[in-house]
Symmetry: C2
Subunit: 465 residues, 2 copies
């Protein structure tokens, strides 16, 4: 049987692209258009209930740029699609040779701010679009969602538990990575633990309980194997009956010199039951036994549970975080903002489609802070302007070579923690957060007006000459 | 730079699992529990606006079962997690040895119907849970969503265009495959084209237009490269001005003996604009030029466009189909339904957690049809019952060996077409479809009652003895 995932090799990512990227490149090639151009990757708008983005995915984006190549197998497939031999020869020698600027992973960002800026011969820069969008969309979406969940948990630990419903294998890996960046304590995904060094956590399934003649037999069997780190799932039949059996097992463990780790609830009225269970455990001198809950959690349900005074130590958050279920995509786009003109100078470019206009020119984002370090406002400016704020985009590749020291996952997580801690509390509200101020510099505003006037003149009133 | 995707190898999928599967298996091992058990994979309920599922993902599930193994690298990671050497030695020789029954890909299915049924030593059967859920969730979810989109398009072609917003690399591949099964004509994903043989399609991006001094220069450049298959994107600046330029280029192509393929709209009032453009094209004797639209489409928007009489030949459907945006997960679960008792006979198992009860015993699904071939009702029965309907579950693996001839993708697509054509129209309504009748056989109902009574007696009234 042919193995699955055979096609998911780094070098195959050159074909992991929309067909139109290749037809456009073929036409650029055919028309000898190798002039440099600049593209911005940014997110057009905030989804409902989001008030910021937590940027993630840069490492894989850079690995892609570093690895992109076309093999003979690719070229043979593309030949069957009708591409010319000249163009295929060009692809055979393809290597990314451009300059890339980006904001570091773990940065808090806002709509319309360039997150990755690519300057390269247009035929190269165009080809990258689909992969860059795919990886940044997923990772930034999950990091953003997870940061909301972690915030709602008010310091209680959150474990990423979504592997079974995340969208396939790669999503399962990236959701674990992105939610760890955002402050989750770990993941249930063992491969993510092995690949990224993220702490892994797990308890037991209902099936484990049900496979034994009696619930308490299952508890005893598990406690025998993991005497000092068992979390017993107590709601298979009846939570309170289950809790009482957990107490018995906890006492049996104490007699052997061990401590039961915790109990887990996965259904029912979590506030009411957690309070009753905490009371029971405390009455039996089991104050050290933690209460862990799961059951379709998200930031809203966690906030509600804590508001109701639920007695919960730790949350397992799965599907709704791992799929960003209330908004499973971002409006992330990759847009041309500049081309080189015939005389060698760069020309600003913008799009005028209804409700989909873009910002022309090569840009930088400057961040301004309060005296206490909290962030105050951002200004999107032209790259060659001088501004007082802190520039967010840093150079990460020059002429196709990595010039950036990739931070470790722990460093990225620390960067996210620092960024989120400097984001004023009001922007972290789960609903109805105010809009963080992102201004356009005067020079950028002027450029927008002149570009718009010029385009309207050329294309709409006078375009068919 | 370390390549990405290095960890996505078929054999690594044994670690692509929730940590608790391994802790449970360790405890089964420690307690010498190797008795056979049966698990059902099924979907608990229909998401809002869905009235059936289109099952997909079996091929990869079987490849996983065939390939699962633990390498020295895996075992060394697990050793650091504290698993015992005895258990690691067992994993080192792990091979799946169970029997598997499943419904074929492309089958229309309903809640609570077993889709995959695994009978194996419980330690093996448990370990599979996460991967099976992950792959069936994604593929069945997208196939179901895409079948709704294709139905709404009423015979106009639908192309899957969601690669940039699908959740990572694997989701991009599976979304292309699943939506092709459901009746899409093709995908924009070139790697999916190469890996699965799915037809690939694409037009051009706004950036291509914007990179030329004038829109018409871009049209001419593209038409030069693809004189007989260009679809020109006409809304970068103004749709009607763009359409007039497309007419000029179409006439230039005619003069050279070629035909313009189509024009594409990606914004604005698609109904109004498509009618105006159709009129313009027809007035210029360009009846053969197709109108292709994209712009945030889903089944609801397509139905609305066609109801309004929009003049559209083909739809490019992206994000909302490729992420199943209105419901980005299914309630797919994998539940123990039977264990072997001490005397060698099988004991039925069920779960009583509030709102989460499951069906005990080893089961089969029988489908009943009208005389015209349309499907009428399903009955979930015990596997050893005789029923008149057509059994849906077929044996696919015996003692760990594949006993099923894997159909080709085209065969699966034909199966889906046949299944959907036999699903009465009323169940395909986009909203408020009636509930398809799924009954439980009398024997299954009896088993539920006796199992429930026994469990309540054992666990709730009398459990702590």
């Amino acid at each position: 049987m042919k193995g699955f995932l055979g096609f998911l090799k780094p070098q195959n990512m050159s074909l992991f692209t929309d067909y139109y990227e290749l037809t456009m490149c073929a036409s650029y090639f055919d028309n000898k258009n190798f002039e440099p151009a600049t593209f911005d990757l940014f997110i057009r708008r905030l989804p409902e209930n989001r008030s910021y983005f937590l940027f993630a995915g840069l490492e894989e984006a850079l690995q892609y740029l570093h690895n992109i190549e076309f093999t003979d197998e690719h070229l043979s497939y593309l030949k069957k699609q009708g591409f010319s031999q000249d163009f295929l020869d060009y692809l055979g020698g393809f290597k990314f040779t451009g300059d890339v600027w980006a904001v570091p992973e773990g940065t808090v960002a806002f709509p319309n701010e360039p997150l990755i800026r690519v300057t390269a011969p247009i035929i190269e820069a165009q080809l990258l679009e689909t992969f860059l969008l795919n990886t940044i969309n997923l990772q930034t979406m999950i990091a953003t969602k997870a940061s909301r969940v972690v915030h709602a948990a008010k310091g209680k630990s959150v474990i990423e538990f979504g592997l079974r419903r995340e969208h396939g294998i790669d999503a399962g890996m990236k959701a674990a990575r992105s939610s760890y960046i955002a402050g989750c304590q770990g993941t249930s995904n063992v491969l993510a633990g092995a690949a990224y060094g993220i702490p892994v956590f797990g308890t037991m399934a209902h099936s484990f309980i049900m496979s034994y003649p009696k619930e308490i037999d299952a508890f005893r069997a598990f406690a025998k194997t993991f005497p000092d780190k068992s979390t017993l799932l107590i709601d298979t039949y009846d939570e309170m009956a289950g809790a009482e059996k957990a107490v018995i097992v906890a006492k049996e463990l104490e007699a052997q010199g061990y401590k039961l780790g915790g109990v887990r609830l996965d259904s029912g009225d979590l506030t009411k039951t957690s309070k009753k269970i905490r009371k029971l455990l405390d009455a039996k001198d089991l104050g050290y036994v933690k209460i862990f809950v799961s059951d379709d959690l998200d930031e809203f349900k966690i906030a509600q549970l804590l508001n109701e005074g639920a007695k919960i130590d730790s949350f397992g958050v799965g599907t709704k975080m791992g799929t960003s279920a209330d908004r499973p995509y971002l409006d992330v786009i990759y847009k041309l903002c500049e081309t080189m003109a015939a005389n060698g100078s760069f020309s600003p470019i913008m799009k005028l489609s209804q409700d989909k206009i873009t910002l022309p020119g090569r840009k930088q984002v400057y961040r301004f802070k309060e005296s206490d370090g909290n962030i105050k406002k951002d200004v999107i400016a032209l790259a060659n302007e001088h501004a007082n704020g802190e520039p967010l985009l840093v150079k990460v590749m020059e002429k196709g070579t990595l010039t950036y020291r990739l931070p470790t996952l722990e460093q990225i997580r620390a960067e996210a923690f620092e960024n989120l801690s400097k984001l004023p509390e009001e922007y972290k509200a789960l609903t109805n957060a105010p809009t963080y101020p992102v201004e356009l510099s005067q020079k950028l505003q002027n450029l927008i007006e002149t570009t718009k006037t010029q385009l309207t003149k050329n294309e709409i009133n006078n375009g068919v000459q």
